[in-house]
Amino acid sequence: MKFGRVLIGLGALITAGAAGAFAYAWKPEIAPINPPERASFDQALIEHGAKLAAVGNCTACHTNPGGKSFAGGLTLPTPFGTIYSSNITPDPETGIGTWSQAAFQRAMRDGIGRKGEHLYPAFPYDHFTIVSDDDNRALYAFLMTRQPVKATPPPNELSFPLNVRLVLAGWKMLFFKDGAYQADASQSEQWNRGAYLVNGLGHCGACHTPRNSLGAEKASLHLAGGEAEGWSAFALDGLSPAPVVWDKDSLFTYLRQGWHPDHGVANGPMGEVTGNLGLLPDSDIRAMATYVASVMGEPSADRRAKSEKLLQEVKSGLITSATSNDQSASSGGKGAAIYQAACAVCHENGRPQPFGGLDLRLSSTVHAPDPQNAINMVLYGLPAASGRTSAIMPGFADVLANDQLNDLLGYLRQHFTDEPAWADVVKRAADTRTGKYHVSIRPSDGIERGPSNIGAEDQ
C-alpha cells in the first residue's frame, strides 16, 4: 500500500502544482468599454502620444507596408513560427476599441491582452513594462483617436505547445520582470531619461541584444549586438564594430539626422528608427545618446588612437583602395577589380555623406563580425525614398553571382579592415537570395519596399 500512497501523494502534488501554475497563469478579463470619443482626450495628450508612438516605432510592426496605419497583419517570422501583428486601431471588433485605459496599461506593463490572454513577447512588453503610467495614458489617447480599421490578422502559425498562450506564463516566470522604470540615483537626470527611452519604449535591445534559445534577451549581454529582420543590429557596448569610436555627440548627430559623416547612413530597419525619432525634441535624443555612450564605455587608449589616426587619414583624403594591379587578394585580385569597377565610382568620389558613398574604411558593416549586412547592402542596396531626396545605393543582386560577391567581400574585408575573412559568404548569400533567410529591404525613409520578402526569387 505504501507504493499506492506515494502515487496518490505524487498525484496530489502534480494537481496542486498545476493548479498553482494555472492560478499564476490565469488572468482575468477586463470589461469591454464603448470606444471613447475623441473629445474625451486632451489634444495635447494625443500629440504627446504621437511622439511616444514614434519612439516605440509601433507602426513598424503594426502596419503592413502599403496597408492602413496600425491595422496590423504584418508577418513576423520568428525561430518558433510566424506571428502576425495585431490590429491596434480603435475598431471595436477587430482592434482595441473596447480596451479601457486599464486594459491598455496592463498590456504594456504585464503583456496581457484585454481578455486576460498572455501576449507573445514579439510585442516587446519586456521593454514596455518600464513605461510610465503618464506615458501610457498619452499612448492610449493617441491610439484610440486613430482611424478605426476593420481588419483581422491571419492566425499565428506556431506549433504545439507554443500555440497555447498559457505556455507564455512559464516564459514570463523565467524571463520577464515587470515594473515601471526605477531611476538610478547615482546617474544624472539626462542619463536616466536616456535609459528610460532606450530600454523602455525605444526597445533598442529588442534588436541590439542577443537572444537565448527561447527567444528572450540575454540579460547579461545587454546591447551586445543582435539581429533584426535579417540584419545584424550591431553591438552598442564595448564591442561596437565602428572603426571610428562613437561618443555621445556623434550618437546624437546620428540619431538626430539618420547619418553621420564618420559612420554613414542608417539603413535596414534602423532607417525607420531614426526617421521616427525625428518627432522627438533634441533633449530626448541627447539623453538617449548619453545613455548609449555610457553603455559603450570609454574605448581603450589603443582603440582611440587607431580611430583618430583613421579619421585623420580619411579627412586628409588618402585613399588606399585597389588599383588595377592590386593582385594581392587570395582570389587573384578579382574582388579588387570588381570593387574598382563597380563600387569605387561612388565610394571613392569624395562626395560627402549622406549622398556620397561612404569611404569603406569607416564602414561598421565591413568591420562587422558577420557578413550579413554587407551581403544585404551589396545585393539590394538602399532603395530611394519616396517623394524626397534620400541616400541611395543600387543593388547588385542581378549582376553578381555568389562567388563573385564572395570575391568582392573578401577584398573589402582584407583591404579596408584588420579583421579576419568572413567564412560563410556564399551560403549566407544563397539563403538570402532564396528567402530562406528573410531580409526586409527598406529605403532610408524606412518604409519597406518588399511586399513580403524582396529576397525571395519566386515572388
Binding site: 578579382k334 570588381i338 563597380a342 561612388c346 543600387p394 542581378d398 549582376v399
Partner: protein
C-alpha cells in the same frame, strides 16, 4: 574576352574592368543604352543580363563571361519591331527619348518573368528609371500595351512582328 550580346558572341578587346555600357556603345556600336549619371541612379543605361534588368554603367564586363546580354537592339528591328518596341511606337511614349531604352529593358525583364504583372507592379518596377521630360503616363501606358502585345506575340509565334 567573349561577350554574348543579343544572341551572338563578340570577341571584345577591352580592359575587364570596363563597364559594359562603354563596351556596348564604343566597341559594339550598340547605342541604345545611354550614359546618364554613371552611378546607377538614373536607369538610362539599363540592359538585360540573363533576363534581369541591370545598370550597365556599373557592371564591369569581367562579371559577364558566359552570360546573355540583351539590349533594345535585341528586341526587334525597325522593319520588324518586337512587342515592347511596337507598344512604345503606338503609344508615342518618347519625348526626348533618352530614358526610353532603359525603360523598355526594365519593362521587358519584368514582363518576360511575369507576363501578367499588375499595373502597380509595373510602376514599382520602373521606379529606378528616371524620366526628366515627364512622360511617365505614356511610358506606363506603353508598357501596359506591351503586356498585351507580348501575349499576342506569344500566342502566334510564327506571325512575326505586327504591321502598323
Amino acid at each position: 574576352m567573349k561577350l554574348n550580346v543579343n544572341g551572338s558572341t563578340h570577341e571584345v578587346d577591352a580592359d575587364p574592368a570596363t563597364p559594359l555600357l562603354y563596351v556596348l556603345r564604343n566597341d559594339l556600336e550598340l547605342n541604345a543604352a545611354k550614359f546618364g549619371c554613371g552611378l546607377g541612379q538614373c536607369g538610362a543605361c539599363t540592359v538585360m543580363v540573363d533576363g534581369k534588368a541591370i545598370f550597365s554603367c556599373l557592371t564591369p564586363i569581367l562579371l559577364l563571361e558566359g552570360r546573355e546580354i540583351k539590349t533594345v537592339e535585341g528586341l526587334g528591328t525597325i522593319d520588324n519591331p518586337g512587342p515592347m518596341q511596337q507598344a512604345f511606337i503606338e503609344e508615342q511614349a518618347a519625348q526626348c527619348g533618352y530614358c526610353i531604352p532603359g525603360m523598355m529593358m526594365r519593362a521587358q525583364a519584368l514582363l518576360q518573368s511575369k507576363p501578367d504583372a499588375s499595373d502597380a507592379e509595373i510602376q514599382t518596377t520602373l521606379e529606378p528609371n528616371l524620366c526628366r521630360c515627364g512622360t511617365h503616363m505614356r511610358i506606363l501606358k506603353a508598357v501596359r500595351r506591351a503586356r498585351e502585345l507580348m501575349k499576342t506575340a506569344a500566342a502566334t509565334p510564327a506571325s512575326g512582328g505586327r504591321k502598323i
